[in-house]
Symmetry: C2
Subunit: 208 residues, 2 copies
DNA sequence: AGGCGTATAGTCCACGTGGACTATTTGAGG
DNA sequence: CCTCAAATAGTCCACGTGGACTATACGCCT
């Protein structure tokens, strides 16, 4: 398992790899699935970015071409599949981003794709995050207190204060999530996306 | 007041304009000030971005060169000043980003620089945001409820749920902020940055 | 007095993003 | 039956970002 290449993934790269875990696809299908799942909430879905990303992933050996399809008379479609290296890199990325507290945008994606990891794995990562969050919260609190004490005017601290409120809310939320995961309150593991199942079935039927 | 150019600013652009409101400066001084004020919390401070940004702002007529200084035998430094157009664009940007709820990163910057607006102005913008936030919160709540009802597995809703918790916390915080602004609990208006005052004084002394 | 690290001030380049654009094909409405 | 919109599948380009790099000058230690 050589690990020199591409430990770093872009948000779109993560989504692409995660989608290929569900089955081989061509890029345009990724777009449709992401749109159907309202992934615009997490990142901006644009063709340009996607096709570039797919090209990059292939050059890095994280995905492979598995053939050029042609359905009816529509333009050719290149279908891709996930390599073992790609699956590894995805899992590593998820672990890293689930454990860290910088890069909030990345964390949201990691969380949304957390079902690609084992339950125990997720719990462990979130406990790491919980620790980091706690420390950051303490530092933040001290920083704010110190600034007020030094007479820094409130108007420049407003954003600081908001951040503390949000940090606090997140701390409580993550505690409850870890609890529920440990209590096995709900299932975990690879998921059939109910929203898009019908579409996927349709596609498979059409391919035969 | 023709307003065709550059209603759109990058985060770094906003910071640069806001800094120039405090006095004429050269880019390198902006870097030092931003570092001193720990603005890395809000954006990544890099020379490349800054110098590009300054060049762009100048081409767009939002700032002007006011002379090329030379202190001792150090490299030349080009000093810039804020134009009237620049001041207008800054204020407009702040109003827009303070009122909206998309673009969270931009909002944080707008909030941190909100002291560049009048108190009444800020209150009005925040009330707009408060409304949008409320609506978004309701929609989010309904969406989550609907998804659960349709049997979408909890594991894919985790990120959704977190977002709702954070939205809720933000709602409460913004209410309290608006209250305190209306009650005039603390001062408002252009601020002498205590943290960096000493540095600025030093600089002025050195220039004479 | 000499050497070395750091501050000063800025340039340059590779990458990722996102929006605009193209060209064909299918389906729905009049 | 014809038209026109929407879907299909993808290319291309301009911009902003961030990191690496350069080169001089000042201050500190020995």
């Amino acid at each position: 398992m050589s690990k020199e290449p591409a430990e770093r993934l872009t948000p779109m790269g993560v989504m692409a790899l995660a989608l290929l875990r569900e089955g081989d696809m061509h890029p345009y299908e990724m777009v449709r699935l992401m749109r159907a799942r309202r992934d615009e909430r997490l990142l901006t879905i644009t063709n340009g970015t996607l096709y570039h990303t797919v090209g990059r992933l292939q050059r890095e050996g994280l995905i492979d071409e598995v053939g050029i399809d042609r359905e009816g008379n529509r333009p050719e479609r290149t279908t891709y599949t996930l390599t073992d290296a790609g699956a590894d890199v995805l899992v590593d990325w998820l672990r890293r981003e689930l454990s860290g507290i910088d890069r909030p945008a990345e964390f949201r994606i990691a969380l949304a794709e957390a079902h690609n990891l084992e339950r125990a794995d997720v719990i462990e990562c979130l406990q790491g995050r919980r620790l980091a969050l706690d420390e950051s919260h303490a530092q933040h609190r001290d920083g704010l207190r110190g600034a007020r004490h030094k007479g820094v005017p409130e108007q420049v601290l407003v954003e600081f204060e908001r951040q503390e409120v949000l940090l606090d809310a997140e701390l409580r939320w993550i505690d409850s999530l870890i609890d529920r995961l440990e209590a096995e309150e709900f299932g975990w593991g690879p998921t059939a996306f109910e929203n898009t199942d019908r579409y996927l079935a349709q596609r498979k039927a059409a391919q035969q």
